[in-house]
Amino acid sequence: MHEAVIEIESPKTREVEPAVYEHPWAVRFSHWLNAVSLLVMVASGFQIFRAFPSFGAKIPQKDLLHWPKAFALGGWLGGGLQWHLTFMWIYIATGLFYLGYQMFSRNHRQVLFTPRDIRGVWPMVHYYFFFGPKPVVREVYNPLQKLAYTSVVGLGVLSVATGLAVWKPVQFSWLAWMMGGFHWARIWHFAVMWAILFFLLGHLIMVVLHGWNNFASMLTGWKKNPEYLER
C-alpha cells in the first residue's frame, strides 16, 4: 500500500535510497491547522476554567486547582470566551475536512484501527514499554499508532460533543442528558481535554525519539528510507 515510492539517486556517489510519499497535503494541512487550534482551545479553555476552577457547588466554592494566568489565553473570562468561540469553528471545520478527505480518498486505510490490527497491539506495547523484541512493521503506521491516532480522532469528536452540551445545554438537551446534564457535561469536557493532552504528550515524545526525517515527513509528505520498506 505504498502508492508513491521513488528512488533518489545521489549524482556524486550514485547511491540510491527510497522515499515514500506518506502524508497527502490535506492530511498535513489539517494536522498543522489542528495543532494551532487545539492549543488555542486548550489555553482559552483554561482561561474560562479560571473563572470557576471547580466542579462542585458555588456555595461553598472548593477550587480544584489554580491554573496559572501565564498558561491561559485571552487575559480575562470574556477574552477567553472570544478565543474559544472563534477557534471552535476552525477546530470543527478542520476535523470535518480531515474526516471527509480520509473517507473520500480512501486514505483512511493507512491509519484507521480495524479488528485485524488488534493482535499487533501487544507486541508494540511490549517493544516500547517492556524492552521486547521489535515487531516487523510493513505499513506506514504500526497497530499501536493506528490505535492512538484513531482514538484521538474519537476524543476530538467527544470534545466537540461535550463542548456543545456545555455551550448549549438547552438546545442540545439530549446531548447534555446523555452526559448527565450540564453539570456533568462540563466535567466530561474537562476530562476529554486531559485525555487529548495525554495523547499529545505521548505523541511529542515519539516525535522526538524518531528524529528529523520522520518529523519532516509531516511537513513535506515525503519520508526517506522508511523502515517498513522491504529492502
Binding site: 502508492e3 508513491a4 515510492v5 521513488i6 528512488e7 533518489i8 539517486e9 545521489s10 549524482p11 540510491v16 527510497p18 522515499a19 497535503w25 498535513r28 494541512f29 498543522w32 491547522l33 494551532v36 488555542v40 474560562i48 476554567f49 473563572a51 470557576f52 471547580s54 457547588a57 458555588k58 456555595i59 466554592q61 473570562l77 470574556g78 477574552g79 470566551l81 472570544q82 478565543w83 468561540l85 472563534t86 477557534f87 471552535m88 469553528w89 476552525i90 455551550w167 448549549k168 445545554p169 438547552v170 438546545q171 438537551s173 447534555a176 442528558w177 446534564g181 450540564f182 453539570h183 462540563r186 519532516a216 511537513l219 513535506t220 509528505g221 515525503w222
Partner: protein, 239 residues
C-alpha cells in the same frame, strides 16, 4: 511503480510540498494586534448569529423535581456592584416605553394579576457554575400582551436600579419559560436576588437575567447591548 530521480530534483519536490502549506500562515493574522480584536469579534459574532438561528422557541429547558432544588441559602448572589440598590418597594413601578400601545408605569400588583407560573430550572453562570432553583412570576409574553407590545420588533431592553442594563432578542422574550420573576422558592423576591422584579430566563446564561428592573422598552435598534456584552461578552448567549 518506482521512478528514479536525482537527489537535487527531490529537494525541489519536497520544497514545493512544504510551500503548499503556506496558507496556514493566514492563522498568524490572529497574532497581529491590530487584526486580533476584529477577528475575535467576528468569530464571536458568528457564534451569536448561529446561536440565534439555532434557537427553537418551542423547545423547553429541562425542569426539575422539588427534591433536586438547591437550598435557597445556597443559591449564589451575583450582583455586579451592590447587593441592594435601595429600591423603594412601596413606590416601585416598571416604566414601559418604545414600540408598545400602552406605555407608562406598571405596578407590581398589575404584573401579579397576570397568570403566575412557577418553574424549577437550572441557572447557568457564564463563569461555569450552575444551580437548580425555583422561580415564580408572570410570563414575559403575557406582560408584552398586556402592554400591547409590537412583537415583530427585534428586541426588549431593560434598565435596572443599579444601573445595570440588558437586552433580549424577541424570540427569547416570547419563550414560554421567560419570566418577569417576582418570586423565588415561593417567597417574594429578596433584595439581594433583585426585588421586586427580575428576569428569569432558563434559556439564557445568568448575566442576561437582570435584577431590580425599573424600565422595559420594545425596540428595533440597540444603542447598547448590555453591561457585560459591551465589554466583550456574547450578546446572544442562549443555552
Amino acid at each position: 511503480m518506482e521512478a528514479r530521480i536525482d537527489s537535487r530534483k527531490f529537494k525541489k519536490v519536497t520544497r514545493r510540498e512544504l510551500l503548499k502549506l503556506a496558507p496556514l500562515l493566514a492563522v498568524g493574522a490572529f497574532g497581529i494586534p491590530k487584526l486580533q480584536e476584529p477577528l475575535l469579534k467576528a468569530g464571536l459574532g458568528f457564534s451569536d448569529w448561529a446561536s440565534a438561528r439555532g434557537f427553537r422557541s418551542g423547545h423547553l429547558a429541562t425542569t426539575f423535581a422539588d427534591s433536586e432544588l438547591a437550598p435557597f441559602e445556597k443559591f449564589p448572589i451575583n450582583g455586579y456592584d451592590v447587593a441592594d440598590p435601595g429600591v423603594d418597594l412601596e413606590k416601585w413601578t416598571l416604566t414601559v416605553a418604545g414600540a408598545v400601545q400602552k406605555p407608562g408605569d406598571y405596578t407590581l400588583a398589575q404584573i401579579q394579576a397576570l397568570p403566575r407560573k412557577r418553574q424549577n430550572t437550572r441557572h447557568v453562570c457564564v463563569e461555569g457554575w450552575d444551580v437548580i432553583g425555583r422561580f415564580g412570576g408572570t410570563r414575559l409574553s403575557d406582560f408584552l400582551k398586556l402592554i400591547g407590545a409590537d412583537t415583530t420588533a427585534r428586541f426588549i431592553t431593560v434598565e435596572c436600579a443599579d444601573d445595570y442594563y440588558e437586552s433580549l432578542d424577541m424570540a427569547t422574550a416570547l419563550h414560554p419559560q421567560t419570566l418577569l420573576c417576582y418570586e423565588m422558592y415561593d417567597q417574594a423576591l429578596t433584595r439581594e436576588h433583585g426585588a421586586p422584579v427580575r428576569l428569569n430566563i432558563p434559556t439564557k446564561v445568568g448575566y442576561k437575567q437582570a435584577k431590580y428592573l425599573t424600565n422595559l422598552s420594545v425596540t428595533n435598534v440597540l444603542d447598547r447591548v448590555g453591561y457585560w456584552e459591551d465589554q466583550g461578552y456574547s450578546r446572544f448567549y442562549g443555552l
